[in-house]
Symmetry: C2
């Protein structure tokens, strides 16, 4: 019976690699560079080589390995090919390549969905039957787990929480081409924009006016220091985020909602505000849905990628 497996989280600059025991133990993790030259064509071979080197190191028989699970920043299609704009991939053969080069079965999926599966398995969602993970970084990502399975969707767009329309009056375009997407407000980028707009709209004093860089971190640091305008910025940010979370809750109704990504480091200052707004917008039956923090940080993706092999 297989005892080990590989979890791979493919990013735009590095590939996070890991060896897991099927009992859930993270035995080893390491990184390799992501080679985006040549339309990203070298990536599957680089990953396979790194896996083969690791297998050689331990010299367990190949039958000890359950396979390779991989999360990609895009879509993995039914035929095992993958598309990811940032890598230059468009229906690029991935799973078949990995299997051909290593002899191991391979499974793949969207990286945000894999992270959600990781949090469900060993992170903030452990013990819950369903969850929604929302990652607040440069953009807003998301993954949804119901009955232990990712809601990938018919076109790989399941869990694209960042692109829920939340503001009809918005005129600026989101990166997706639409207007008024959640990501335009509830991302680190959106946070900085809300801050710049509020500061420009008033003469009131704020420590943010002398911040070297008006980014999400500066805003939440100022919130922690008790800055009044920073708290207003945080309220606006969290109100939009809560609208998006309420939309997800009213549609999927998970047992728990988890927040991850850089902005989630704000912790209770973020959670308290989001919870306060969430009860205003969620359907009565699901207003008590707990909202907590993701706990696996950057490891969520490898946990989930490996876990996908056990489904």
């Amino acid at each position: 019976m297989a005892k080990y497996g590989f979890g791979v989280d493919l990013g735009g600059t590095t590939v996070k690699m890991s060896l897991f025991g099927t009992d859930g133990e993270l035995i080893e993790k390491w990184f390799i560079d992501t080679d985006t030259s040549n339309g990203g064509r070298n990536i599957p071979g680089d990953i396979a080589r790194s896996i083969l080197a690791d297998m050689k190191k331990y010299s367990f028989p190949a039958s000890d390995y359950i396979g390779i699970g991989i999360g990609v920043p895009g879509q993995v299609h039914a035929d095992g090919s993958a598309s990811a704009v940032n890598l230059g991939w468009d229906h690029t053969p991935l799973l078949s390549e990995l299997t051909a080069l290593t002899g191991l079965p391979a499974k793949g999926g969207n990286d945000a969905n894999m992270a959600a599966l990781g949090e469900y398995w060993m992170g903030g969602g452990k013990g819950y039957g369903s969850l929604v993970l929302v990652t607040l970084g440069t953009g807003v990502g998301g993954g949804i787990i119901v009955d232990g399975r990712c809601l990938d969707g018919a076109h790989g767009a399941g869990g694209e929480i960042g692109h829920i329309p939340v503001e009809p009056s918005e005129t600026r375009r989101c990166s997706c081409g639409s207007t008024g997407c959640l990501e335009q407000y509830a991302s680190a980028t959106g946070n900085a924009r809300i801050a710049a707009e509020l500061l420009a709209s008033t003469d009131r004093p704020s420590t943010l006016r002398s911040a070297p860089k008006l980014d999400a971190r500066a805003c939440w640091d100022a919130v922690a220091a008790g800055d009044g305008l920073a708290m207003e910025i945080a309220d606006i940010f969290c109100d939009y985020l809560a609208r998006g979370l309420a939309a997800v809750a009213n549609i999927v109704d998970p047992e728990i909602i988890l927040l991850g990504g850089g902005v989630s480091r704000a912790g209770d200052a973020l959670l308290d505000r989001v919870r306060r707004s969430f009860v205003k917008y969620a359907f009565p039956a699901c207003r008590s849905t707990p909202i907590g923090l993701a706990t696996l940080s950057n490891d969520a993706g490898i946990y989930g990628a490996f876990r996908s092999l056990l489904v």
Copy 2:
């Protein structure tokens, strides 16, 4: 092997009853009154008696029946009890009652989710692996099917599409207590309100000004007759609806979206406008999701209720 089963759709004024063959044939359907007196306590007994009478009529052996599937206008809890404000039910024993009185196994769920399952099985969603059904009536209801199963949610709030927040600037309260819910715009009630507001805001002529009753039907009749203001009302209605559908598509990413309920009788005039707005708000990967009409009309609930027995 069981050959027959009962599908029951419990409404606030009538109970729709049906006998199905396990091959999917609707053999017989009939109605009984919903007795909401006495906290709705007589309802399970009334349904059971009607089923027993039907079983007696055919005199098949009891082992020929797979059971009773029932949709309720509220939630069916894990213990088989049900809550439904309109019936006066709060954790009222339902499934155990039905089984005790008829000797048949019973399964239950929310009526909108059952309707979605019906459309998936034998209606507009036949042949698709996943769907979202949105019913446009007095309110906006919804049901979501993924891999043949209802997304009921952790608190029975799965598919509460009518309460997705879509308009931050709204000040009036929705029946759920929140503000800016989809239902406040994309229901028959919302349609009439949009019409009244647009007519009051301008002096421009419209046949709607002399309509005996300014309701959704009058609006869509005026659209069909080429009335300019009515078309603007329809555009506003459909734009809000499309925002809600885009939210669902970006979260669940179904293979098809179906519209049902009274307002869906507007047909192509509705569909064309909704599709035009949907592509503006949906995530690129799922912009091509087909949007069609539900086809089972008021029978969707009994189809789904019976079908739930086969899962």
